[in-house]
């Protein structure tokens, strides 16, 4: 099982650290909860003034993969894309943070002695970090970013190969181009990133018949299977990303939806 069962309570945690990592924001908080599995996520909401932002939102909590977990602390990495991530990015040490999780089902071990190949795009690198640190020997890691500002987060990974869309850091190009170079029949791909990247990974690995585990995103309301809002199409019909994923087998998916 790639799932740690979550405490049946939303719990109030305290922010213990907040800092910029390039264009992203690292958020650290206290947590007494159980050890999560790589690929699992949490629903977060600021304890104070969750709401009243742009367009009177956020109202619902937001989903975030955990980045690191150690010594009673959890870390998240945030990209400010709207009112929820903005509010979370403003949190300071001492502020309260509602936490539900760990949720969903994380990455599975590679099958048949395959070598894990980690492919991350942008903020999608987050769930790959705990996976990366759990693997020994270390896996190959390919990371793509928009530009050098975002690529600063690649420093979280030991020995990752980095590329940027604008060439301002690492190689110039898309991470799927890197993947194309590294894809062979002995690997199992673990990928997370924007929908277009994941869709490309799905198609590339499908063509080469290489297994791939994709950590998906989806608009969520609850994170624990209650609303049926977060579905993606699979060959067996719609499944809920929050309980059946977020990590899903590429070969089961019909497509990676654009949002």
């Amino acid at each position: 099982m790639n799932r740690t069962v979550a405490p049946f309570d939303r719990r109030l945690s305290t922010v213990t650290g907040a800092e910029a990592i390039g264009a992203y924001r690292l958020l650290r908080c206290s947590d007494e909860g159980p050890e999560p599995r790589p690929g699992q996520f949490y629903m977060l909401a600021a304890a104070e003034r969750w709401g009243g932002g742009q367009d009177e939102r956020p109202y619902l909590p937001r989903a975030f993969s955990y980045l690191r977990r150690s010594g009673g602390e959890l870390e998240f990495l945030l990209e400010d894309v709207g009112p929820g991530t903005r509010r979370l990015s403003e949190l300071r040490p001492g502020d309260g943070l509602w936490l539900l999780g760990p949720l969903g089902s994380g990455f599975a071990a590679p099958r048949d002695g395959r070598e894990p190949l980690l492919v991350g795009g942008g903020i999608g690198i987050v769930p790959l970090l705990p996976l990366h640190t759990s693997l020994s020997p270390p896996a190959e890691v390919l990371l793509g970013f928009r530009d050098a500002g975002h690529a600063a987060a690649a420093a979280l990974f030991d020995g990752a190969t980095v590329c940027t869309d604008d060439g301002s850091e690492g190689q110039h190009g898309l991470v799927t181009e890197l993947l194309d170079e590294h894809l062979d029949d002995h690997v199992e791909v673990y990928a997370c990133g924007p929908p277009a990247m994941l869709e490309a990974v799905r198609l590339m690995t499908g063509e080469r018949d290489v297994p791939a585990q994709l950590a998906l995103e989806s608009g969520m309301a609850c994170g624990f299977g209650a609303c049926f809002g977060c579905v993606v199409p699979t060959r067996e019909g719609y499944v809920r990303v929050c309980v059946d994923g977020p990590v899903l087998e590429a070969r089961d998916l019909e497509a990676v939806p654009a949002h």
């Binding site: 709401g51 939102r57 109202y59 608009g219 209650a226 809002g229 993606v232 719609y238 309980v243």
Partner: protein
């Protein structure tokens, strides 16, 4: 605050709103604590239909100021799948089970009611005549005579409590409630979601896969309270009030307006145990009220 809801014994008056809490997924996520610390006094299951349904294409959610639009589209395993796979699990819950059903014709509803009601695990049924995502839902529940005909058709099929869930997208919900009562319903519940819509900020096309959806959450609370008050004054059967309940004070207001029990929907998305918190807050308010009334 023990509550008798048309024959269903509840330990307290706070239950879940249909389609907003999946006990089976919760068991996977939170484990058996779901059974020992169940947050509601009854479990209302998500609407089931005769045939299995995939539901609407995503995206299915849009957050609004203090609320949510959903276009879930009633995905479910269908009657047979529900009875075979879900019912045995739901039977493990420590609270009475109310099964919510919807049909596209009266006969479909009759088939559903007959098949569900005969199961011992089932304490009561809720008829969804109000889902704004599926054409027929709107029509049946917006019209008093349609509602009456439906309830008359299914009433003889069971002696178990029948709850009719009203739609707020109607000119005269109290008239529909009276029609349901006169045709033999044991209770009415309201409000279901209000028809709503959002556009993709970039393209201007409808955001939701189904085009439109239903609005829920605090944004609709004042509308729910008005309808619950109006309906409560129009019928003598119990009313289950819902719509934007987030606190004991909200639940208390619905009960002051006449509701016998209160259902929590969207608030559970923020906190899976919102129902339990609301129950505690509600009982505290009721206690204070008794004290200040000198009782």
């Amino acid at each position: 605050m023990r509550t008798d809801l048309c024959g269903i014994e509840l330990e307290h008056p706070v239950i879940n709103a249909s389609g907003t809490w999946d006990a089976i997924a919760a068991l996977r996520t939170f484990g058996d604590e779901v059974l020992t610390r169940f947050p509601f006094a009854a479990f209302v299951s998500k609407t089931i239909t005769l045939e299995p349904r995939q539901g609407n294409p995503p995206p299915r959610l849009w957050e609004t100021p203090a609320g949510l639009i959903n276009s879930i589209g009633l995905p479910n395993k269908g009657l047979a799948g529900y009875l075979e796979h879900d019912l045995p699990v739901l039977a493990r819950l420590p609270v009475p089970l109310i099964v919510n059903v919807m049909g596209f014709t009266r006969e479909e509803v009759a088939t559903l009611v007959a098949a569900v009601a005969e199961r011992d695990e089932v304490a009561g049924l809720e008829l969804n005549v109000s889902c704004p995502n599926v054409e027929s839902g709107l029509i049946m529940g917006a019209d008093p005579s349609e509602t009456a005909a439906l309830v008359e058709r299914v009433r003889p099929l069971t002696s178990k409590p029948l709850v009719v869930k009203l739609t707020p997208n109607a000119t005269d919900p109290p008239a529909v409630a009276r029609a349901a009562q006169d045709a033999g319903a044991d209770a009415v519940s309201l409000i279901n979601t209000l028809r709503g819509m959002a556009l993709h900020p970039g393209t201007g096309e409808p955001w939701l896969g189904a085009g439109t959806g239903g609005v829920s959450g605090p944004a609709i609370r004042a509308i729910a309270l008005a309808q619950v008050a109006q309906v409560s004054q129009s019928v003598s059967i119990p009313v289950i009030g819902m719509g934007g309940v987030e606190s004991g004070a909200d639940a208390h207001a619905l009960m002051a307006a006449g509701a016998a029990a209160v259902a929590v929907g969207t608030a559970s998305f923020r906190d899976p145990r919102a129902g339990a918190r609301i129950r505690v807050e509600l009982e505290e308010l009721a206690r204070k009220e008794r004290v200040s009334a000198g009782a």
